[in-house]
């Protein structure tokens, strides 16, 4: 008989947002029982790969107003200003909490927190632990979470469905990757914190686990995804692998050059003004893309690239502040940044879009919350500023937990028989997939086709024709995905099966991104349309929603919450 486990709060995802939520819940309520469910062990979560830092006001020359304004402007006025206001006020408290929990933040000589410059930020407000900030934050959170026995971990459990009863979420069905069985995990509230979906694209900084699982779970349960057309291209990825070279390289003084030796960001047409390399990511990625298109790139075995030069910064600074960059460049491109420029090109890095939530992390569905990259609180709007997202995981992970806890106190636990029945249906569906599909399509090739379509249609620059083609091709790929051959019959650690489930999730997320993009006939933030090059506040100062309704995606609009800052031309 299918096992049914009971907890008060079920958190899906063990990265920064999920761990922060779990800790917030058990600290706020001495009796609460939290299930932390993840398809990997928490310390493998992709938070681990974040490098450059986490933003929060700390210095005397900084203020919440400045951090707020920078974030609003960075978002190209699509961020909700009440959310941004709350975020900037909570940010220093959250990073201080992490300090108290042992995070090894880099320090000034007097022992105070050191901060560095980051793109689109007016002053130095990015806290850092050398250039392994995500790694240190994740391990600090994971280790701190081990204090609490009321956080019950379900590691290597793949959530395949939200259990919904009477219109409210009641828990999840999770496939035990190791044992091959599905179990129901009942919770009075569920928080999704599964991260982004970079693997929808062929060239990304994201780890292989970033497959949009939480987004797809919510979407298929009828909860809309918001602002999914806004895909952040990071300007500096290593050619070939797409491994991230942190923006902190530029925060510490790194410069970008084209093949002619020009510091091309000085060109006024690129819009970064005197900020140069410390402009926002959307603008710098466009500049790099244009330079390459203009033939100003270097030719390499993995296509064209430009140079990120750190050689003038000196060995001592690089070894102290950017040791991971040194290791990554030496290992993966055979370049020593102490003496040689680093080859870089734009690379898919972050999904601004995600599950539509309010400021509390609550979705439309009673009991369902989201936090971190998989959620969309409308903090980042059309373009996220570097170093806001690690802080976002903490601020909104904690807030989602507190609100989920309040919700959980007011509702009865879900029905065991409903949970069992829905989970048995899931188990049957999974059994019918495992090594049982004789189709003619290859899993790996279908995934590559999706990735190529996304790169073609939703690149640094897009246009209507390209996005229309992407929508059509994705529909065809979705059809073909039903005919994918699955050969591995094993119930134990069947990673062909999980890769298939991930692909199905990504296809939904990819389709939503393409449809959102097609509907936005303007250029805003990371959504740069060559056929609609201007921002159009009269018609498009709104969020995009895509809802799965009557088994079809439906595009809708949602109002932006403005505030003290009226939309203005975004000039740096």
């Amino acid at each position: 008989m299918t096992e049914v486990l009971r907890h008060d709060i079920v958190i899906v995802g063990g990265g920064a947002a999920g761990l922060r939520a779990a800790i917030a819940a058990v600290e706020a309520d001495p009796d609460v029982s939290v299930a932390l469910v993840s398809k990997v062990y928490p310390m493998r979560s992709h938070t681990v790969s974040a490098e450059g830092g986490a933003a929060a006001v700390d210095r005397d020359d900084d203020s919440f107003e400045l951090h707020g304004y920078d974030t609003v402007k960075g978002s190209d006025f699509l961020g909700d200003q009440d959310v941004i206001q709350y975020f900037v006020q909570e940010a220093p408290k959250e990073l201080t909490r992490l300090e108290h929990w042992g995070c090894p933040w880099s320090r000034n000589e007097d022992g105070s927190i050191a901060t560095r410059a980051f793109g689109g930020m007016t002053t130095k407000r990015t806290w850092f632990a050398a250039d392994k900030v995500g790694f240190h934050m994740l391990h600090t959170l994971f280790q701190h979470s081990m204090r609490f026995d009321r956080i019950v971990r379900y590691d290597e459990q793949f959530v395949t469905k939200l259990i919904v009863d009477g219109g409210a979420v009641r828990g999840v069905s999770a496939l035990d990757i190791r044992e091959g069985v599905s179990r129901a995990i009942l919770g009075r509230a569920v928080i999704l914190a599964t991260g982004g979906a970079g693997i929808c694209f062929p060239f990304t900084t994201n780890g292989n686990i970033k497959t949009g699982d939480g987004m797809a779970l919510a979407y298929r349960a009828g909860v809309p995804l918001k602002d999914m057309e806004f895909v952040q291209y990071h300007p500096t990825g290593l050619p070939g692998t797409g491994i991230l070279v942190t923006e902190a390289t530029r925060g510490e003084g790194g410069r970008l050059f084209n093949r002619k030796g020009e510091r091309f960001l000085e060109n006024a047409a690129y819009g970064v003004g005197s900020k140069l390399e410390l402009g926002p990511r959307d603008m710098i990625s466009r500049a790099v893309d244009q330079e390459i298109r203009a033939g100003n790139g270097f030719e390499g075995p993995h296509g064209q690239y430009l140079h990120l030069d750190l050689t003038h910064l000196g060995r001592k600074l690089l070894e102290t502040r950017l040791p991971f960059v040194l290791e990554l460049c030496r290992t993966y491109v055979g370049v020593d940044p102490v003496t040689q420029p680093i080859p870089i090109r734009p690379v898919v890095h972050y999904m601004m879009g995600g599950i539509d939530t309010d400021i509390d992390g609550a979705t439309e569905m009673p009991g369902l919350y989201a936090a971190g990259e998989c959620g969309n609180h409308s903090l980042n709007g059309a373009n996220r500023l570097g170093s806001n997202s690690l802080t976002e995981c903490l601020v909104f992970g904690a807030r989602a937990a507190i609100h989920a806890l309040c919700f959980a106190k007011g509702v009865e636990a879900g029905s065991e028989s409903v949970a069992r029945q829905q989970t048995e249906e899931e188990a049957a569906r999974i059994a019918s997939l495992r090594g049982q599909r004789k189709g003619g399509e290859s899993l790996a090739r279908t995934r590559s086709q999706m990735q190529e379509v996304m790169e073609e249609g939703l690149g640094v620059y897009r246009n209507q024709d390209g996005m229309r083609v992407a929508v059509e091709k994705l529909a065809q790929i979705k059809e073909r995905a039903a005919d994918i051959r699955l050969e591995d019959t094993s119930t134990v650690f069947n990673t062909e099966l999980t890769a298939y489930l991930e692909l199905v999730n990504m296809l939904d997320v990819a389709e939503v991104a393409a449809l959102s993009g097609l509907a936005r006939r303007e250029s805003r933030g990371a959504h740069a349309c060559s056929d609609f090059p201007e921002r159009n506040d009269r018609e498009y100062l709104h969020h995009s929603l895509v809802r799965f309704d009557d088994r079809r995606p439906r595009v809708e609009k949602k109002a932006v919450t403005l505030g003290r800052w009226e939309p203005e031309a975004r000039k740096y």
């Binding site: 108290h100 320090r107 022992g111 240190h136 590691d155 292989n208 990554l328 050969e487 094993s490 650690f493």
Partner: protein, 249 residues
């Protein structure tokens, strides 16, 4: 990058659903000159045999998922260039761990050891957020910084001669992590951890083989941590003889 010819990748396979004992399977893989071992496994999975199971994610040597033995040495497969090997490369699961399937090994025992050393800040009185960050000088940070770099890849456990023989041994990574907190100027929990270090399977089980530090892909130097922890545990014990437990030394 150019092609680098073909290599034969010999992989240990084990599926408890069908195998009594592990077997080996060979795959001929056309390799590129800039490939890591992981790239060859991904080629096998995508193009030859989708049933091959292994863990991986970040492919940039920080998530710690993809540890395995390559030609008998513990490696992160994402940070192990294929070009340095000959025509045949043997890939087996991390030594000293029970195998779940193929190259996937049991992680639970490792995490239980990590948890046993209380890897969190212990203070008599916890600081309130309103008090702001605790001051810590760059020198104080440097005291423990190296030991905070462990990515939990478990390579050191598979290289350690004691781990294989002593089921209770805390092992290099867990000791290094406990020691990292002992050295942190913000922490007041050293005597609790030293007590754990002195228990059976604690720091004195280590035989100074130094293998852990040699295989560590992040230069954590767990052997140095273990040696320092041994000294610290003795001094802490001696302190306990002079002062009643809980007294300030």
């Amino acid at each position: 990058m150019g092609s680098n010819g073909k290599k034969t990748i010999v992989v240990t396979r084990f599926d408890p659903d069908r195998d009594e004992v592990p077997r080996t399977q060979s795959y001929e893989v056309p390799v590129q000159s800039d490939w890591q071992v992981l790239d060859a496994l991904n080629f096998i999975k995508d193009e030859i045999d989708p049933s091959l199971s292994y863990r991986w994610s970040c492919r940039m040597a920080v998530c710690g998922s993809c540890g395995m033995m390559v030609n008998g040495e513990a490696k992160l497969s994402c940070k192990d260039p294929l070009s340095k090997y000959g025509d045949t490369v043997e890939v087996t699961p991390l030594a000293n761990f029970p195998v779940i399937r193929d190259l996937v090994v049991e992680t639970e025992g490792f995490l239980e050891r990590v948890q046993r050393v209380k890897p969190w800040i212990i203070r008599a009185k916890e600081k309130a957020v309103e008090e702001g960050p605790v001051r810590q000088s760059p020198r104080e940070l440097a005291d423990f910084s190296q030991f905070s770099m462990c990515i939990n890849c478990m390579l050191c456990y598979s290289a350690c001669p004691v781990v294989g023989n002593e089921p209770h041994f805390l092992g290099p990574a867990a000791i290094a992590l406990g020691h990292r907190y002992n050295l942190d100027s913000r922490d007041e929990g050293a005597d609790e951890r030293y007590q754990i270090f002195r228990e059976e399977g604690g720091v004195y089980a280590c035989t100074y083989a130094n293998e852990c530090s040699e295989v560590c892909p992040k230069n954590v130097d767990p052997a140095a941590a273990v040696n320092q922890a041994k000294v610290g545990a003795v001094l802490d014990w001696a302190k306990g003889l002079i002062l009643p437990r809980g007294g300030e030394g």
